[in-house]
């Protein structure tokens, strides 16, 4: 069983929901990524989404764009990100790691090469923002051959027929984008999410994570009530951006621990 499936199974039997923090690899600098990942697991992260820096992150808001820019100042590329995952695996062989990013760095590395290296590094899932299922067949095959899950997005505008297409290609979990807009936007419409998820579940049998617009314990708790996983990205990246270098680990820990507690509260 893959690490992702095992994680969801374990959580299910404990009657808990998955907490999935997102950070950009190499932000604020390359030496910090592995320690931050470790800290996230310590305070209750179940899966880590690791952003691969890209020069033109079209689907991201200003917060994650700036994180990408900070990482790119240090020249962090896909190869470096895979090394960071390897380093993380030295001390943690259980927590799934999902790479999230844009198509072109993977195109540049080549599908087969990337899939092999990702497997060797200990990557469990890959989410490519600008590969919708229709364009992702070749990569998905290569990834699956290496036992790596292909994670896909669903949006409020995704039509029912398309959910079936996504379900055909997806494994691990699917990621429901709770907002129309880019990452880091506000105004999460909980009613809309609560209404939409049962509809999604009739088409997609995988666990469903919800992200975009989750900023605190209350919104995380509300999402955890209806979804299988809560993804928190921009709010966490903001914390990293605003922290003093020496307190990044501590600040990140406080934020994620608080969200974990809110999610788990009876």
């Amino acid at each position: 069983m893959s690490r992702i499936a095992a994680t969801f199974e374990k959580l299910k039997s404990a009657d808990k929901k998955a907490l999935i923090p997102f950070i950009t690899a190499g932000d604020p600098d390359p030496t910090m990524t592995t320690p931050i990942m470790g800290a996230l697991v310590q305070v209750g992260a179940d899966i880590i989404e690791l952003g691969v820096p890209f020069s033109d992150p079209m689907a991201d808001g200003p917060t994650i764009q700036r994180a990408s820019e900070r990482a790119l100042v240090h020249g962090v590329g896909l190869g470096d990100v895979l090394e960071m995952v390897s380093a993380f695996r030295q001390s943690d062989n259980e927590t799934p790691v999902v790479l999230m990013g844009y198509a072109n760095p993977i195109e540049a590395m080549g599908y087969e090469n990337f899939s092999n290296q990702a497997q060797a590094a200990g990557v469990d899932g890959v989410l490519v923002v600008d590969y919708p299922p229709e364009e992702s067949g070749d990569l998905t095959r290569q990834l699956n051959a290496q036992g790596i899950d292909s994670i896909f997005l669903l949006a409020p505008t995704t039509q029912q027929a398309r959910m079936d297409t996504v379900a055909r290609f997806a494994s691990g979990y699917v990621y429901y984008v709770a907002l129309k807009g880019v990452t880091g936007a506000s105004h999460l419409d909980m009613q809309e999410v609560a209404k939409k998820l049962p509809e999604v579940r009739t088409h997609v049998k995988l666990p469903i994570g919800v992200g975009f617009g989750i900023r605190d314990g209350d919104t995380a708790r509300a999402v955890a009530d209806v979804a299988d996983a809560v993804v928190i990205g921009s709010r966490l990246v903001e914390e990293i951006e605003n922290a003093q270098p020496e307190s990044v680990i501590a600040d990140v820990g406080v934020l994620i621990r608080g969200i974990r507690q809110a999610m788990d509260a009876a």
Binding site: A108, T158, V182
Partner: protein, 405 residues
């Protein structure tokens, strides 16, 4: 009739928007529905006689089409060899070919019931053309423009504001065209129900490369009639500058199946290809995925998009339309590059011999015609698509000559 049949044989893109391995729809899920809606609407108007009639009426009475072809006799004499002819897109309303496309897309937006249009712009020509049609059809217009470009193109920014558009400075990345495109995409994702995104070139996700090509293909259709009328036959070669490639594809499209006509795209070599500071994507880049399609890109080994340079802001883009990528690989079109210096020389040459001031973008095409003509006989005919006029470039040209206006 034989030609008509031959033209019908060229059917790209396929249903998913692919030109061979290029093109496609590489966007986040949040945009997929909007693109499907756009594709359906466009497929409908493509077959709608009323829509086509209205588009043609607007092109004639508002844009001022057909644009003439002009024999640049003095330039041809000075250069020697082939006869150089110009397709005068510079005479269109707003001074460039860009208006052909914005009229088409604005009519489609109106048909789809969208009251707000957004656009990205580099030099400002597409922004002006979008603001123009927004005024004409009573739509709200927001133009995204890199803050670096805003500094370089102050008069076009003012033109857009006069036309009632708001111009939003983009501070991310390199603060130029590609970043403006990213930002416009973000706006579209957020306001997808009310908003129509008018992309200014033959790039972006399907159906944009096809749709923008179709709206600009009026150029080639006119040429097919005009050239036999003027010189008794089709030209030996058509030469057009290529940034994203919308004017070039507009001129090339009707000739793709006509193998007797060479199709030559001229990219911006900036400070020279070997300097690394250029925008000659097809000549020196390699394939990848950016802005919704697979095409040639300027990128580093990590797949990060690199910054480009050209004296002409309209060619200063790290990608290129996917149909051009296909035309290059298939060998049907040739792509060459002309540097800043050669483009400036061509600008001055055409200005002084013909009294026609070309846009710096179009000057690249003129420059290549001036290189090619002497290698050909006096009976040969080169057709340059003069995609825009150079008034907007006064400051850049003056600066290059060390003059402050």
């Amino acid at each position: 009739m034989q030609m008509y049949e031959a033209l019908k044989a060229y059917k790209l893109p396929d249903e998913q928007g692919h030109f061979g391995s290029y093109g496609g729809v590489f966007v986040a899920e949040t945009l997929v529905y909007a693109l499907e809606e756009l594709r359906e609407s466009y497929e409908n108007v493509r077959k709608d006689a009323d829509f086509i009639a209205e588009f043609e009426y607007e092109l004639k009475h508002y844009v001022g089409r057909p644009s003439p072809v002009y024999h640049a006799k003095r330039l041809s004499e000075q250069v020697g060899g082939a006869q150089i002819w110009l397709k005068r897109e510079d005479l269109n309303h707003t001074g460039a070919h860009k208006i052909n496309n914005t009229v088409g897309q604005a009519l489609l937006a109106r048909k789809m019931g969208k009251k707000r249009v957004i656009a990205e712009t580099g030099a400002g020509q597409h922004g002006v053309a979008s603001a123009t049609v927004a005024a004409r059809y009573d739509m709200e217009c927001v133009v995204y423009m890199g803050s670096e470009d805003i500094k370089r193109q102050a008069s076009n920014v003012y033109r857009m504001k006069l036309l009632g558009a708001s111009v939003v400075p983009v501070e991310s990345g390199s603060k130029t065209l590609k970043d403006a495109l990213n930002e416009a995409m973000r706006d579209w994702v957020t306001n997808v129900e009310s908003t129509f995104y008018i992309i200014g070139t033959v790039a972006g996700p399907h159906p944009y490369p096809m749709m923008v090509r179709d709206f600009n293909s009026v150029v080639g259709r006119e040429l097919r009639i005009q050239m036999p009328d003027e010189v008794g036959r089709q030209p030996d070669a058509i030469i057009a500058c290529v940034g994203g490639g919308s004017n070039a594809i507009g001129a090339f499209y009707s000739y793709i199946e006509d193998k007797n006509v060479r199709l030559i795209g001229v990219e911006a070599a900036g400070f020279g290809i070997e300097s690394g500071k250029h925008a000659a994507t097809l000549c020196a880049g390699n394939p990848g995925v950016l802005h919704g399609n697979r095409t040639y890109l300027m990128q580093n080994d990590d797949g990060q998009i690199t910054e480009t340079h050209s004296i002409s802001a309209g060619l200063d883009y790290p990608g290129v339309g996917p149909e051009h990528a296909w035309l290059k690989d298939s060998g049907r079109a040739e792509y060459v590059a002309v540097d800043d210096h050669e483009a400036l020389e061509a600008f001055h040459a055409l200005t002084r011999t013909e009294g026609i001031m070309p846009a710096l973008e179009s000057s690249h095409a003129v420059a290549y015609a001036m290189k090619l003509a002497p290698q050909m006989s006096k009976d040969a005919v080169l057709l340059v698509n003069l995609s825009g006029r150079g008034d907007k470039d006064m400051h850049t040209v003056a600066q290059a000559s060390g003059i402050t206006l």
